[in-house]
Symmetry: C2
Subunit: 293 residues, 2 copies
């Protein structure tokens, strides 16, 4: 996404709003349960010459599935925006972020994401879905996506954040279902824990959904900060070095790239969606097997 956001020191958004920075830090820690790391982010954007700030804090580690649960998210902003538009921006953003996270397929009855806007930024109030709204909504999307990734990364026992990007799908809903099917597969999760470039398990997990796609057109690749590894083209395996696979998959953030229909160069490539999860480790078994009721 090409978006001009300025990350700011977390807690500063509370200060900007005339509240206590220490209070923000206390709050973000008070909401944690089995989380092993704090989850917060703040950023600012320019709207008509005024600086608008958005901050978020969340908790969530286990039982994140299938839509938000089990997590809490609190977003604050000083943006002046009409409440229906604020709600619309939040709903859309939650659908593309927190609703696309799964840790272990288990779920719960508890979740919540709220956004509070006090309008103190002094921007011309956003009252319609124009450029200012889109800029604000994009910034909110960016913020929530980063927060969703923090939750997946802190999944119980996780050693790696796993992202699956599906492109070339018949609809966004199908792309989402496919991406979620990949990141929830225990066999994919254990393979990535073991840094095994097991593209067969990815292809297999795509097939668990009722989505229609042509397996003979599927391209698969793994990507991480350590490199890029193409493993499957037109549904067939490509030769790759185990050494490189171990290097790429040894990173703490791995993206599985699934293109269902690469199509002709430059042609539209269908719908896309991204989902986030984590690997399945010995530690997950220890945490949940050692627990006493």
């Amino acid at each position: 996404m090409q978006l001009d956001v300025t990350p700011i020191e977390a807690g500063m958004e509370a200060l900007v709003a005339g509240l206590s920075k220490a209070g923000s830090i206390d709050a973000r820690e008070a909401i944690l349960t089995t989380d092993t790391m704090k989850k917060e982010l703040a950023l600012s954007i320019e709207l008509g010459g005024k600086t608008v700030t958005i901050g978020a804090m969340a908790k969530g580690s286990g039982m994140i599935h299938p839509n938000m649960a089990t997590m809490l998210g609190f977003i604050t902003t000083d943006c002046a925006i009409e409440s229906d538009l604020l709600h619309e921006a939040l709903i859309g953003s939650v659908r593309r972020s927190y609703n696309r996270v799964s840790v272990d397929g288990d779920t719960s009855t508890n979740d919540m994401v709220v956004v509070l806007a006090n309008g103190m930024a002094g921007n011309a109030p956003i009252v319609q879905a124009g450029p200012d709204y889109r800029l604000f909504a994009d910034a909110l999307d960016y913020l929530n996506t980063q927060m969703a990734k923090m939750i997946a990364r802190d999944g119980e026992g996780a050693t790696k954040l796993i992202e699956c990007v599906v492109t070339g799908a018949a609809s966004e809903a199908e792309a989402e279902a496919l991406a979620k099917s990949v990141i929830t597969s225990s066999l994919v999760k254990t393979a990535l824990f073991g840094s095994d470039a097991n593209w067969g398990r990815v292809l297999c997990a795509l097939g668990y959904t009722p989505s229609t796609f042509d397996p003979d057109k599927v391209h698969l690749a793994f990507e991480s900060p350590r490199g890029y590894l193409e493993v499957c083209a037109n549904g067939a395996g490509l030769p790759f070095s185990e050494e490189k696979a171990k290097l790429v998959l040894g990173a703490q953030e791995i993206t599985i790239l699934v293109d269902l229909d690469p199509g002709v160069e430059g042609a539209p490539s269908g719908c896309t969606a991204t989902a986030w999860g984590c690997d399945l480790s010995y530690e997950y078994v220890r945490i949940n097997g050692d627990y006493r009721t």
Copy 2:
């Protein structure tokens, strides 16, 4: 089930049919892949004074979900039975046995169960759904249920067979969905690996399904060859000793008893279904994380 079956030595059914016992043993081993134990069973029943024999062999260990896959099953019998009735008996039995097993929620494209009948038992051929048919179908059900349990027990990394019996459901389909939801939950599976009587996770997993039931009526108990432990009545926890929980859940076969609507003594208690799975262990992670593509 009150059924008068006589277990016979496996391989003997081949001998009875005039084939080689050694060939049967070779075959049951040749079909195994990642299985750690052979899966076979043979039994006989009396039909109108004649002894009818049924034998089965199967393979299956990982990726058993949601309906049979990934497994192979071969059933032979010398029963004289009309082919449409044989097919009907098999379909019904598969639905209540192999289709109710899940190891890790992953699945595949491969499965098959066949039944072959050569009619050599000399019984009056079964040509309608009368008492002989029901006796044969019950015996086939018993055989396939035992085979299904062997597959679940040999699930990858499994240290325990987990059975979930749901009663008091609005329909058999709902009972099945609920039982499957319990045995596929990673949190239930890890709890039982750790011998933790975590009935909250069981209650939670019941809630993952769209089934309608009243949580305030639910009764839960754990049972194993080592004892019986009631943990929840009318949706609320009962006091129990951790020592006894560890004893009961330390067994290699554990049944989770879920009664959704205990009702009045003697009154019909709704529909029932049983599903089988296994615990989630360190060994599952090792097997599937160490695997190299």
